[in-house]
Amino acid sequence: MMRAFQLLLVSVLLWCGSVFAQTEQPVGQSGSGSEDTPWFQQTPQNSKFALIIVGASANDEIRSRLRGWVTDLHASLREDYGYDSDAIELLIDDGSNVGNAASIVSGGSRVADIEAAIERIRSRSNAGDQLTVFLFGHGSSTFGDAKFNNVGPDMTGSELADMLSPLTGIDMVMFNTTSASFEFSRELAGLGRVVVSATRSAAERYDPLFGGFLVTALQQKRADIDRNARVSVLEVFNYASGQVSQWYRDQDRLSTENAVLDDSGDGLFSREPGTGQPDGLLAEIAYINVISAGTQKTSAEALRLTAEMQSIEREIFILRNQKVNYLEEDYWKRLEALLIDLATRTRRYNELP
């Protein structure tokens, strides 16, 4: 019953506000939905933080591979998504032996280091800000609690959840890319959070490929499937999990990892989140990008066209979500009319000085 209620709540909220939740609006102007959606309503006034945690590595080859991934991730967050360097906490192993990543590493990934990093983020964040946590390395769930293998005592999912609990009002996205990540990730699930796990059960114990494809998805906004110049968590998830599946297909091997996502807070993860699924609606509006005011055209005509474009875009989203309720022909007829309208206004907007 509780699950049904939560799903309904999220669905209703998204129904109203999904289109405008992350649109780059002129300062002071908010879409109708933004007032109703409690999560992921960042505006240019909000900050976004990233916490990248790399656990202990079993050998040099893995250490090198993980370091390469997170170095690329760090660069992509800055270059592709607008993060300030000091908004990214990169914690690696014991903090030493990090090669040419020394300038971007904040410290080790011991439990105490993680607590300290979270405290630094807490001290600089405000309600409405967003934190994305990336976990790389090894996980295990052989002996009771699922654990993230870091230097020193391993960290459980509930311990990390506890550490994050002081960040009240902060929207959170978690990417856990470790082996046996599922049980650990389940401890992190909560209302208003988007949690991605590289594996869907404790039995998936081999080092996943998902982490590498996650970084690839983010780099150069490859995952931006809807071409809106913003990358949502759902897009990242779909891209990376699709690449993982393709890799196993190409190798003609059975997949030993299946990524899952939960954003309804119930700890029940979905393999194919999205329209019509219990999960995915929040992930669709949870964007990795930092919102900037950008360069907007400020003429009255430009403002009017912007408002009209946003309105049409919202209608398109609503129509798309209602696709099953229309006859096929009618659906495409309506959609084409809206798309032509949107394209016409976009062209006119672009032609304005």
């Binding site: 495409w332 084409e336 798309l339 062209r347």
Partner: protein, 935 residues
């Protein structure tokens, strides 16, 4: 064509040989060990002990009549037939004389002494009704020896004279009636046996086994299975039930369970010939049949099985001998008669066929089994039209012959008559759902229903929707190119449409081709009018070469009404590969020289033995190669017209030497001598040294796949000083040792000793400039030049490699991209086509293809490439659809442009490139926002 391999007892053969099961073993009733040791007499207080026997052998003691009878039965059970005969002969007391005579008769029958077996039991049968068991056994012996009329009369007397005739009598009577074509009467007897069981009056294991056989004959296969299980549960030593149960499994293509049963029987009696013959139909046929015939040189089932095996391995004379031997014992063997009739039919010897039919008609008019057997054999020998005619005749005589329906359905499918074929298969399946072959073939129909059907002028093609989108654009023009080319060349126009079925799953391909999912390394099969192929999506070989190869078979088979021998058909198809494209086909190189040095070449008159006697894929691959050599020889020395004349000779049934004499005006020996001289000239021209320690290159799919040079692959793996030293020694001794130069080049390349590596690789290249194996000197040279940063030289070597290596799409793509960058559209086009011939599923080939099309301004081609990319490039569907929409727009396909870009914008409504295409499409079509139809 890749006919199913008949060299070993592969699936298709087993499918046919198992027909013998039904007709020979179960129905002919060869299982003579039905009676337990003194099972139907009371022997109070007697506990037979094997140690007694053993002790008896060690220390002869005076045994009583009962002891001798018991010992005789036990020895009979264990397969000591001569000992059993001796023991039974020792029984003198009247009380046990009948039992002893029955045992004696069985032991004699098991060793082929049928006359003595009959004599032993006939004395007991003065009044058949009063001696039902003896009379029944005598009737079984009569049936086994071709005296079914006497058997019928005898059994009729027992049944008429007994209120409750023994179950065995009822079933054996049913079998005789069935054999003699009195099907309704036979069913009455079988039903009577089942009724007896249903009334709870059958307790004995042997009788339960007989009831099981009756259920089998009534097509109650489920009941038969359960009853056999019960019979064996009642008595685990019931060899007859164990073996018949195995036969039932085998008839339904369940070899695993059949083998288990036969093995159980052989564990009890390793000389039990019905089980040995059953095993022969599953594996190691020669071994098991030799064992069987050693026990009983007149065992009809073993003789029939051996005869069929020989016939299927193109040793018709030997096969006929065995079948004649079987008929000498049992002149009423339907299996032997129909097999001989099939041989007569395949040789167009209709007088002989009619004579054999008359022999059958004498005891079983218009025998359905006879015609079904002929049809099955003809179908397996590519004579599908005649097979269909005989199968229809079988069904006309017995509409409930489900095996005949399966044969008819399967052969209709091979003729492209799918609708009627499916009807017969469904009928067979509805009545015999345990027949795995039938259900497999029907499942493939389900697969085909999900496939697309595409057509060109002369071809109708079934393939998956993925292949329809990706493969078809490139296959369709190749089909028509081959048609035009081959029609002109062979002056023959095959019947149209030629049906081509491209299967994504190898199992479906195999079932469609031979009925069972195991077909070995074959990648394509031609049936004359129908070609089956494995989708290139599951291959790493040049699919175009395979397709062309099979299409040549369409011509040569139809030109000869499917009468062409395998060696010539394969030889021509393999030879035609290189005629079509210079990079396709075989090369005269190491393989030829090695074959000559090792004396592997067969006389031309025995070329089919290369296929039938092959013990490995390598052997079979070599059989293709030698066939190709003969065709190359004919074309080069005598001209193509002579080759065409030879093909036409095979349209008639003549002796092969006569055909060669007609065409080449010489006998086979002279022809063979000429061929060998020509080969020797080629070997001299090639002038390469072949070291004994090197192995043959191995290629998948009978030479259609990459031919890996194992020796060179090892050199790539092992980079050690001793290998280098050894190879240096070899080239010093034999400067034309190609392999040694190549391996040295590889080792030196690994050590970055580039100059010396280049020397050896160039030397190897000079020795065999058209070497087509992997790795080749040109490939390694390209890698060296790449390491040296010499792109131009690298590309030059890749181009050299591709002149002879047809399976390397990556190098072709690399050359195409370089040509595109250089603006050389001709070269780009050529190399892209080379890449597509191997892997049309690689997206990058199509991206480059689209780029080329745009350079050429070929908007239609751009559309084709982007259409394929929408299917293949799943990582960015929005971009793929937008690209396709743009291509449609450029190609004036405005409706498709709008429909396609809508799909992109549905996902990405703000994507301005797609928006622009939508607006331009709308503007050009002069409409505002009217949606044409559904995307």
């Amino acid at each position: 064509m890749n006919y199913p391999d008949v060299s070993r007892l592969l699936t298709s053969e087993r499918a046919v040989l198992r027909r013998v099961v039904h007709r020979s073993a179960a129905i002919a009733g060869l299982c003579m060990l039905s009676v337990l040791p003194v099972s139907d007499v009371e022997i109070p207080g007697t506990q037979f002990n094997l140690s007694l026997i053993n002790a008896g052998w060690a220390q002869p003691v005076e045994l009583s009549a009962l002891d001798n009878l018991t010992r005789g039965n036990e020895l009979l059970l264990r397969g000591s037939y001569l000992g059993a005969i001796e023991a039974f002969n020792s029984v003198r007391e009247d009380a046990w004389r009948e039992q002893a005579a029955l045992g004696l008769s069985k032991a004699m029958a098991m060793t082929g002494q049928y006359d003595q077996a009959i004599a032993a039991v006939r004395a007991l049968v003065r009044d058949p009704a009063a001696s039902p068991l003896a009379a029944t056994q005598l009737a079984e012996l009569y049936r086994m020896t071709g005296r079914s009329a006497e058997a019928q009369e005898l059994l009729a007397q027992v049944v008429a004279g007994q209120l409750n005739p023994p179950v065995r009598t009822l079933v054996q009577y049913g079998l005789v009636l069935d054999l003699r074509g009195e099907l309704d009467e036979a069913a009455v007897q079988f039903n009577a046996a089942l009724a007896r069981y249903d009334s709870g009056l059958v307790f004995d294991s042997a009788d339960v086994g007989m009831v099981a056989l009756a259920a089998w004959k009534l097509d109650e296969f489920h009941d038969a299975n359960a009853l056999f299980a019960e019979a064996v549960r009642l008595d685990s030593n019931n060899l007859e039930a164990l073996t018949l149960w195995g036969d039932l499994f085998q008839e339904k293509f369940n070899d695993a369970d059949a083998e288990t049963n036969y093995n159980l029987a052989l564990t009890i009696n390793r000389r039990y010939t019905p089980a040995l013959t059953g095993m022969a139909r599953i594996s190691s046929p020669e071994r098991y049949l030799a064992m069987s015939l050693e026990v009983n040189a007149r065992d009809v089932a073993a003789l029939e099985t051996y005869g069929l095996l020989m016939v299927r391995n193109y040793q018709q004379d030997t096969g006929r001998d065995y079948l004649d031997k079987a008929l000498a014992v049992n002149p009423e063997s339907v299996t032997a008669l129909s097999s001989l009739a099939a041989l007569a039919a395949i040789n167009d010897d209709m007088p002989a066929f009619d004579a054999l039919l008359q022999r059958v008609n004498a005891f079983s008019p218009e025998s359905s089994e006879f015609f079904a057997g002929v049809a099955d054999y003809l179908g397996n020998n590519y004579r599908f039209t005649e097979a269909v005619a005989y199968a229809r005749r079988a069904i006309a005589r017995d509409p409930n012959n489900w095996h005949a329906h399966t044969v008819l359905g399967g052969n209709l499918v091979r003729l492209g008559e799918e609708v009627e074929g499916k009807q017969h298969l469904e009928m067979a399946f509805d009545n015999d759902p345990f027949n795995v072959m039938t259900s497999n073939m029907l499942q493939v129909f389900d697969v085909l229903e999900g496939y697309a059907t595409l057509e060109t002028e002369h071809f109708r093609v079934n393939m998956s929707h993925r292949d329809a989108q990706v493969l078809w654009p490139y296959m369709a023009p190749l089909l028509e190119e081959s048609w035009q080319n081959l029609v002109e060349k062979y002056q023959f126009e095959p019947e149209v449409p030629v049906v081509i079925q491209v299967f994504e799953r190898t199992e479906d391909f195999a079932v469609r081709s031979v009925g069972l999912p195991d077909i070995g390394p074959l990648v394509g099969i031609c049936f004359g009018k129908v070609v089956t192929l494995i989708s290139p999506d599951t291959l790493s070989a040049n699919w175009q070469e395979i397709l062309w190869h099979e299409l040549v078979h369409v011509f040569t088979l139809q030109m000869t009404q499917n009468r062409m021998p395998r060696w010539l058909s394969e030889g021509i198809s393999t030879w035609e590969e290189r005629q079509a494209r210079p990079e396709w086909g075989r090369r005269l190189g190491l393989e030829l020289v090695r074959a000559v040095e090792q004396g592997q070449l067969l006389p031309v008159s025995n070329l089919n033995e290369g296929f039938t006697g092959a013990n490995s894929n390598a052997d079979l691959s070599f059989a293709y190669f030698q066939s190709y050599l003969v065709v190359e020889y004919i074309a080069e020395q005598y001209g193509f017209e002579k080759l065409r004349e030879l093909i036409m000779e095979y349209a008639y049934i003549r002796d092969e030497s006569e055909m060669f004499a007609n065409v080449f005006e010489m006998d086979m020996v002279s022809f063979d001598n000429g061929f060998r001289d020509w080969i020797q000239q080629r070997v001299d021209q090639i002038n390469v040294y072949v070291h004994v320690e090197d192995s043959d290159d191995e290629g998948a799919g009978h030479g259609h796949g990459v031919r890996e040079n194992n020796s060179a692959v090892l050199a790539e793996l092992y980079n050690n000083e001793s290998l280098k030293q050894h190879m240096r020694g070899r080239v010093e001794q034999q400067p034309r040792d190609f392999q040694a130069h190549l391996q040295l080049g590889i080792v030196l390349f690994r050590e970055a000793a580039y100059d010396e590596a280049i020397f050896h690789l160039q030397t190897a290249q000079g020795i065999l400039p058209d070497y087509s194996g992997y790795p080749s000197p040109s490939l390694v040279l390209a890698q060296i030049y790449e390491a040296q940063g010499n792109t131009e030289a690298m590309m030059a070597q890749l181009a050299v490699m591709l002149q002879n290596q047809q399976h390397d799409y990556a190098s072709a793509l690399k050359l195409a991209e370089a040509a595109l960058a250089a603006g050389d559209t001709g070269q780009a086009d050529y190399y892209l086509s080379r890449a597509l011939a191997v892997d049309p599923y690689e997206p990058q080939i199509h991206r480059s293809g689209a780029q080329l099309a745009q350079q050429l301004g070929d908007t239609g081609r751009a559309v084709r490439e982007f259409e394929v990319l929408v299917m293949l490039d799943q990582s960015d569907p929005v971009d793929a659809r937008t690209n396709l929409a743009g291509a449609y727009l450029d190609n004036q396909q405005l409706d498709q442009a709008r429909l396609t870009v809508l799909r992109a914008l549905e996902t990405a409504p703000g994507y301005q490139r797609a928006q622009d295409i939508l607006l331009r499409a709308v503007e050009r079509s002069g409409q505002s926002s009217e949606v044409i139809t559904q995307p």
